[in-house]
Symmetry: C2
Subunit: 343 residues, 2 copies
DNA sequence: GGCGGAATTGCACACGGTTGCATAATAATG
DNA sequence: CATTATTATGCAACCGTGTGCAATTCCGCC
């Protein structure tokens, strides 16, 4: 075992071993038609024997393309995000791109640090999921000259592309489902204020009420934090109303989990006393008790589409700026007409 | 909007603007003591104004270090894996490393492709989680001269470092929990054959039986596939026995979910008729009904430790080769003495 | 005033590839 | 056989940084 590794074998070593110039080796490795068939085969064989591995660094330096993209997420461990990343990675790999992954923890300054690091590594493109600080990208974006695609975070500017779920439509459908079951007191349990997807889902909820001729009651709106704890607390407030709701549409499944806990803690039964609808269709939605009615987001597909869009941008094409994917209402047993158990 | 971006501004542009050589700029940017204080400040200011971003490619080319690591996982979307990656990324970021993430889908040939790509990008180190093809790394490893750390997959060779959970001990504790509740017919619902962690957990299960003086009954062992579907099927077999078990220790939470479904489908109640123990403590374990007794794996910490170990290796240190982390038994309501409900 | 040394900065090469252009060898053509 | 077209290879410059060594300037000191 040596101190100081014996230096990687480079293109020149292969050239020397094959008795040609490194230019020829370079061409041979990329199967250029400029190099003689036999010579090429021989060079590639020798390269294989020597364990030659081309340096993406050197190549990127001259070609100005690294075959690399950066992905920024709020939390990798978030099951919602993980599936999206999976979609990105899969189609990225398909096109020959390697992906840098970085957490932002929803901290703006970390997010900027991360994007800067991506820039130094000369990524060919960037995908940002569920960013809360989209605004901060504008200056860096113009500096970087790198295509960016946002997921679930439309940036209200030009030259920024985004993939989103059709929040309003899905929320309307979910609310209609409850209305159709005969609920009249339907609550909305949202995320923190100001998030675009929360705003849109809330809008869909109101639209559904309006179309059904039901009055909108502001006291039936409560805000959590997108996680079980917040949902739990927000639900407590709703249950404390003089006239509590018989159904609640939650911003996401995580909030719904908390809501369910609160409902049960109040001695009430789901769905007999309160029906619950979530959003996302996380794995847990199928296994929670009772199984949760929710809106499925095509997360994998969203990631794939984002990567597809990015590839088009990197290839100089001009894809649509804002792409909306439909959600799908999955009816399970957490919803039923008021006063009834699921049949 | 121009065709062909106007070329990134490089170190030389900064040098020209500051009226110095690029060498001086290089030193200034790295805060070298060799450069005059004022000159350094001025250069950095100008660099900032020009939007200069150092090329990690060029730097890596000459320094032979990229401040980059590669992470290979079977499935990013696997909630178990996602949390590990989060731990890796977090401490990696702390040390200034960017991480390449890639799926292997448990396909050996894809896994090799991925590692080869990492090699071309000249990563400083590699972490592999839950690989089923660890053996294949040996040749590539020697070629690459890059430190590798395995998670949950001890490689029976030299110079390979790994971070694992103490499977046998944890399995023993879980089984003891059931024995302590008075169960005598305890089944083991495993993963596919041949996986190391399955083997170890099975060993812990047997040890516990033996220490308690209970007979080992081969018919009480059934194998799934680590996912709900497999667990469901394996549990069906166990319930079809003339003398079915009153408790089952499952390889992981996913299998346990399937097992619970089977139990309920058979018209039995958990834990009154059958107690269930899982492994992993996924989020879903808290929210499934009844809440699942399981072994918590410190996933985030495992990722962090792997990265820490990698950093030591990259720094030329010699950390321990195989590090075992203890699991923690989390008792919830899916386990109770035979015939009893949870109190 | 000459001299030694410290503090700065410049020079030039290296890293490992890609690529336009020149060149040599070979084949096709008149 | 001379000329031209074609094919295969070499030459050399370049991408953007880091760094050892030389060179310059400035001081303090004898």
């Amino acid at each position: 075992m040596f101190k100081g590794s014996p230096r990687r074998i480079s293109i020149k070593d292969v050239a020397a071993a094959a008795g040609v110039t490194h230019s020829t080796v370079s061409r041979a490795m990329r199967h250029s038609p400029l190099v003689n068939q036999e010579t090429g085969d021989r060079i590639r064989r020798i390269a294989g024997e020597l364990g030659y591995s081309a340096s993406a660094l050197a190549r990127g330096l001259v070609t100005n393309r690294t075959q690399t993209i950066g992905v920024v997420v709020t939390r990798i461990a978030d099951p919602f995000v993980a599936e999206i990343v999976s979609g990105i990675e899969e189609t990225g790999h398909h096109y020959g791109y390697s992906v840098f992954l970085a957490n932002s923890n929803a901290e703006p300054e970390r997010e900027i640090k991360v994007v800067r690091s991506f820039a130094e590594h000369r990524v060919d493109g960037i995908v940002v999921t569920s960013s809360r600080v989209g605004t901060l990208y504008l200056p860096m974006l113009s500096e970087m000259h790198v295509p960016i695609v946002l997921i679930n975070n439309q940036y209200p500017g030009e030259f920024v592309h985004s993939v989103m779920i059709a929040n309003a439509e899905a929320a309307r459908e979910a609310t209609n489902h409850l209305i159709g079951q005969g609920h009249r007191l339907i609550a909305y349990l949202g995320d923190r204020y100001g998030h675009q997807s929360d705003t849109e889902r809330f809008a869909g909820y109101r639209q559904a009420l309006e179309q059904a001729g039901l009055p909108f009651q502001p006291e039936l709106v409560s805000h959590g934090d997108g996680r079980p704890a917040g949902g739990e607390q927000a639900m407590r407030k709703l249950l404390a109303l003089p006239e509590p709701p018989t159904a609640v549409f939650c911003y996401n499944d995580m909030s719904a989990l908390g809501a369910m806990k609160s409902i049960r803690a109040a001695g009430l039964e789901i769905p007999v006393d309160v029906s619950v609808v979530g959003f996302d269709d996380l794995l847990v939605a199928q296994y929670v008790f009772p199984p949760l009615t929710t809106v499925r987001q095509p997360r994998h597909q969203m990631g794939a589409l984002a990567m597809e869009t990015l590839r088009q941008l990197m290839g100089g094409e001009q894809p649509a700026e804002c792409m909306r994917l439909p959600g799908e209402l999955i009816v399970r047993e957490s919803t039923a007409p008021p006063g009834e158990a699921t049949q």
